[in-house]
Symmetry: D2
């Protein structure tokens, strides 16, 4: 850490900074410039508070040299983390894993039909929301426990593991009973009570970047989970809030190489929320694979026009099947693979869907 | 609501929009332009989902005509809401109420000394955090229950009502037992579980704008609380995240006249978080009063250099006393008042502080 | 400047940084931490390029310790600059100077009538655009030379100095012939050809902050002008682009204390563009005075409903007169003054207006 | 256009809106809701000013239904525009064109060596700046005319067409004499004088998105050029300014599918400025091709460590060659092609480079 003094800082003020640093067990290197003095702090700074130095008289500001997270850092662990989901799917390895499903679970038929299509198209994880945080108190808030049960049925039919969102500490035990991956949504990225709780849970976690979270903050929030004992964390880029309005969010795809560079955690990309319009999803899903994402999470719906939420950004099952074929080609072009051959007999499976 | 069709929308797609709207009990007015058709929807739209129309084939987008909140809207209630805090302080009336105190409660002495200074300077509410949401899992997280007890002691000594933050649903009953005003912090603006819970609580609530919350979203979150039965809600502008880095946040002071125009709820301004640097706080506190804020919330500390959190933005007690005098003059210049004459005998009270 | 090496930087890479720095005549202080090495550079760094160090192998990034501007810095010149406009008005001193007028000069009558109202209300400078940069090629682009002539007539009638925008180097000589203050608009903040040219002009300049300019960049652009010889520069906060849409821009009023703290140049606030809605202008104009602005620039119009541009944010003459009275009170409350007593005989002057 | 009245708008105010619209030759459809009236305007609105309606008494705001640009819109011209550059390269067709070169032309040797490497790697256009807009008045501002001459030499040696930036109207004739493509930089996106001038020039133009320009504004600026007669315009996504600091800008890659959807103009992607760090450029270059960009513009340098500008984001020639091979694979995976086989005899050409 570098402590930058104000131009008119006194010797006493500089001395106070040095004494405080040394009392914390770190070595100090004051450098006296023409206009300014800076004090470099060297040693283990994980528990040294920047803001306590910021607050001192005569200090202008401080600059951090190292990332504030440790367990999530690639410096600590140079090789990629690979997360095992239910023994069948591995996220963070050579395969690009596609997770797909509706925004909300709406009915048994809807989720089972979708799950079959997901499996048929070669995707590996089923997504679906049972508890939905919504901007308006008057909007559909999800089916709750009933939704979890439908998800479990869809898993029973297809064998696909399930990812679903957990929104409160109280409902975590119940959600964890059903989910193979726990999703922390963007609004809850800094809900530290919830982060602590999933840090104690025995399930992989997908942590979504907050709508105005920096990449560093996202990794700090991952650190909250990992430092509570749960190392199976993947982080998800899903678009940030900017002034641009032609997309729902601004999909900050550069986050993929940045996070791969600074952390060992797997990175998921969500082009559905990233763009907000189904016509832009295929281009950005392909871009995400080309950029090096370890997984994609996509919103699809058997009848997007009548979806109860996020229909504008949901692909139809037909468009999804076509996209999966395109994604396989892009994955190969960047030396990755999308496994899970599409079924040879889609018709028969569609029959199953109708029966189910 | 206006539904804007794509340029190439078919008659069947337009018909589907009209039928869906009419099935929801609203009247439709299709308008056929040269390139585009739009369908205006008239009636009670509170429970009509924009996104369900957005998702339909042939629809480009939708535009809302009315605010999505109802109970918080000035259209519903033209006169200002005035919130009674513990029978002594009224927020939203002619008086500009100043709330002040440290970011975190650090010790019994620290909070009692500060409380006496707060009272002495003529401020009306004591702030102090017992539960602190922190970006790093390695930072000081607050004294918890002990902090609440110290706040209660400070109230007993000074008679000042207390505002303190609640961060989880589980700790709400305990916090509500001690607090006169419940603060919902910026990170929890959209923590809907918590909003529901404080909506059932018997305490006034101060809801802070999220770091990337729009004004409309802030009022929607207020609506969550009000629609659960708690009408004593004030909202707080505390700076938003932008590209500018010379302040900690960008203090969006225009939110004050905007909210006063669209809602009847009282508006609080927080120039401490809004700027992040104590040298800018006095200018922006005065500006906030001139802009029409109903209350200010300020971070002060008996020894900012040694504050455990947010010291960089905390005023010393001396600077705070000077600021209070300046604020009184500005309040008068805009036909408001800051009551609570400063004590005639500050010395004696400082003795009390030392005794306490 | 601090050069921060990558965790795995080699001794050779560190050596190269040191040699380059020393070849530029600056002293180096390498500090070897556990994970990282940093090299502090001390000396005259004005002409040392940060990016040339950023580009070196083994370098992660660099951090600047001093402001990149020199002539505009308060470190260089501790006392406030005061700009003399035409011998009658001084900007940057105890008086808060109000500049007012229409967005565009539309006709001789419009500008003369407005000028009389401006003078009558006690404002000191007349604003009006003759050359208008417009987002659409199909919008009204200003009256050009004819507009300048009308402004000159309005000055002849009232004695008020004129501020008007210059948009190209080619038209600068002509505009400078008419204008008392040259305005550089937000879109041209970084039009360096134009900055060079006004740096050579014999007129005070008001430089507006670009819609996404940082405060540091704004002061760097002022440095462009000052370093070309023109010291009579004031900078203007007029709102920045953020995600918030309830105002036209986000009026970053904290820029006022920040700039007063880091620079000696006078600061102007523009609440008309800052908010974009006339109903919010009075609150934010008062806030700007309370925050310490040296001048205000306001859009007013004798008939806002029929203004050719920016009518939504223009005050009527009546509302402007009322606002001036309110501003006087706020100025006094912060120990400033708004001179220029309002005329005792407004009716007679309105007759003059009609005659003119 | 939809004019949304305030809740309390009077019949007279609504009548005034209708009369103004009808006086402009457009048809009106007033719709009377419970709380609000809206007036829909139908007809040719290209020259109807939104802001003139915004300014009227009783109007809350207006909403545009159609894009404000016409010539640049895909509605006007459904098929892709393809731009012919010097008879040899076509941008906007099946080929993804790679433009590469240094940020600044620094010397004859530097640009000729780079040009040979560009050609050898299979890229089709040489980039290089002779006039450089720089944030600091004390930074290297480019070689000017000498730089243009070196570029011409590099073209003579390699046959590659040249793209270079034009920064002022005065230097346009000279730049146009040398350049095959005129680049308008991000800072000048809304420099309307310059847009007018290149609209009259006989050269293709690449218009870069401003650092805070919306996609709609970018296309409006393209409209400025096209409406002056120059249809050979391509637009370039190069990153926008947001709160995120781990990249130089936020590379808004979704702009590619958005622009391809709303406009017929070719889209160029600039991952060098988009990310600002050479380690992230390959991932985002591949992503840009996967997202559907028609061309890439890349900064490369024979010795990035010693580049006079933007070295941090410049690829070495070796890394560039490797990237070109990777890009070919991605292009094929999305049914595009990167022509220009890499030379079979790179060694011999490197000799040429040394001789040159």
């Amino acid at each position: 850490m570098i402590v930058i003094m104000k131009p008119n800082a006194t010797a006493a003020e500089i001395g106070a900074v040095i004494r405080r640093a040394e009392s914390l067990g770190v070595t100090t290197h004051p450098i006296y410039g023409d206009n300014r003095t800076v004090v470099a702090l060297v040693g283990d700074l994980t528990r040294v508070s920047r803001e306590s130095f910021n607050a001192m008289d005569g200090v202008n500001t401080t600059v951090r040299i190292q990332e504030p997270y440790k367990l999530a850092s690639r410096t600590t662990r140079p090789e990629n983390s690979v997360i095992d989901v239910g023994g069948a799917v591995r996220i963070g390895g050579p395969e690009v894993v596609v997770m797909a499903g509706p925004c909300s679970v709406e009915s048994r038929d809807q989720i089972v039909e979708t799950a079959i299509a997901v499996k048929e198209a070669g995707a590996k994880v089923l997504r679906g929301g049972a508890y939905k945080p919504r901007t308006s108190p008057y909007s559909f808030q999800g089916l709750g426990l009933k939704g979890l049960e439908y998800l479990a049925e869809a898993r029973a039919v297809t064998g696909l593991p399930i990812i679903t969102e957990v929104v409160t500490v109280e409902t975590l035990p119940m959600v964890a009973e059903y989910a193979d991956i726990l999703q922390i949504g963007a609004r809850n990225m800094q809900n530290y009570g919830l982060l602590h709780a999933v840090g104690k849970a025995q399930r992989p976690v997908m942590l979504k970047r907050g709508i105005s979270g920096t990449i560093e903050e996202l990794l700090m929030c991952a650190e909250y989970i990992v430092s509570n004992g749960n190392y199976n964390v993947m982080v998800c880029e899903r678009g940030i809030r900017t002034y641009e309005t032609s997309t729902r969010n601004t999909f900050d795809l550069s986050a993929v190489p940045v996070i791969k560079h600074t952390s060992h955690l797997p990175v998921v990309a969500d082009p559905s929320h990233g763009t907000g319009y189904r016509e832009y999803v295929p281009a950005m899903a392909k871009a995400a694979v080309a950029a090096g994402a370890d997984a994609l999470i996509l919103e699809i719906h058997p009848d997007p026009d009548n979806a109860l939420s996020d229909g504008r950004q949901s692909l139809s099952l037909t468009d999804f099947r076509k996209l999966m074929a395109d994604l396989r080609r892009v994955a190969e072009a960047v030396d990755r693979v999308i496994d899970g051959e599409p079924s040879a007999e889609p018709v028969a499976q569609e029959e199953t869907a109708q029966v189910a």
